[in-house]
């Protein structure tokens, strides 16, 4: 099991563009959470998906949206990119009632 995988590894976009990041959870996991980690900060919760629905959301604008597929993989979409969206985006998977979240390596997004 490769654990949680994310793609792409790095991404460069310009202001106003849209981006899609992808995550495949650890084998057997059904819940995916997304976090944004700005430079010098801890990860900040964006939202969580379970059974293909957004179950919980952090303090992020509607420009941030997501999706979970029947195979439990997930996408994070960000519209109308701002310079401040530059960050490392982390995906974490877990069991719905599990005790541990397993993190992926992250996608580094740079907005110019």
């Amino acid at each position: 099991d490769a654990g949680v995988t994310q793609s792409p590894t790095h991404l460069i976009k310009t202001r106003g563009q849209q981006v899609t990041l992808r995550c495949s959870p650890k084998s057997g996991h059904d819940t995916v959470s997304w976090y944004q980690q700005a430079l010098g900060q801890g990860p900040q919760f964006i939202f969580q998906y379970y059974e293909e629905e957004e179950r919980q959301r952090g303090n992020f604008p509607d420009r941030f949206s997501g999706h979970q597929f029947p195979n439990y993989s997930s996408e994070l979409n960000v519209n109308a990119l701002l310079l401040g969206d530059s960050a490392l985006y982390l995906c974490a998977s877990s069991l719905e009632w599990g005790n541990e979240q397993f993190f992926g390596p992250g996608t580094r997004l740079t907005v110019l």
Binding site: V4, T31, S33, Y35, G40, Q41, G42, P43, Q44, F45, Q48, R55, Q56, G58, L90, A92, S94, L95, E96, W97, G98, N99, E100, Q101, F102, F103, G104, P105, G106
Partner: protein, 112 residues
């Protein structure tokens, strides 16, 4: 609202010295507390959680509800302990309470 505070950004010690990484939290209920670690060029991974009351790699952490603290301690630091450490809080074990709130992290540097 839930909040995690790690008051220091950097702790530098010599090999064999004791280590204490501070973490304070704010939460109205009974939270679950975690320490995550990120070694150089590796992904974020769970180090230990308060409900397990375990020692991992010589590290321990005790939840002090009176002081709302969850400090991470190790009596004798090793060079391989050098990493970024994040304290995190979760409001519940599963369901809609399972999001993690992280502190800003602290860099531990252990010198030979």
């Amino acid at each position: 609202a839930q909040r995690v505070t790690q008051p220091e950004k950097l702790l530098s010690v010599f090999k064999g010295a004791p280590v204490e990484l501070k973490c304070n939290y704010s939460y109205s209920g009974s939270p679950e507390l975690f320490w995550y670690v990120q070694y150089s060029r590796q992904r974020l991974q769970l180090l230990l959680r308060h409900i397990s009351r375990e020692s991992i790699k010589g590290f321990t952490a005790d939840l002090n509800k009176g002081e709302t603290s969850f400090h991470l301690k190790k009596p004798f630091a090793q060079e391989e302990d050098s990493a970024m450490y994040y304290c995190a809080l979760r409001g519940g074990r599963g369901g809609a309470n399972s999001k993690l709130t992280f502190g800003k992290g602290i860099t531990l540097s252990v010198r030979p």
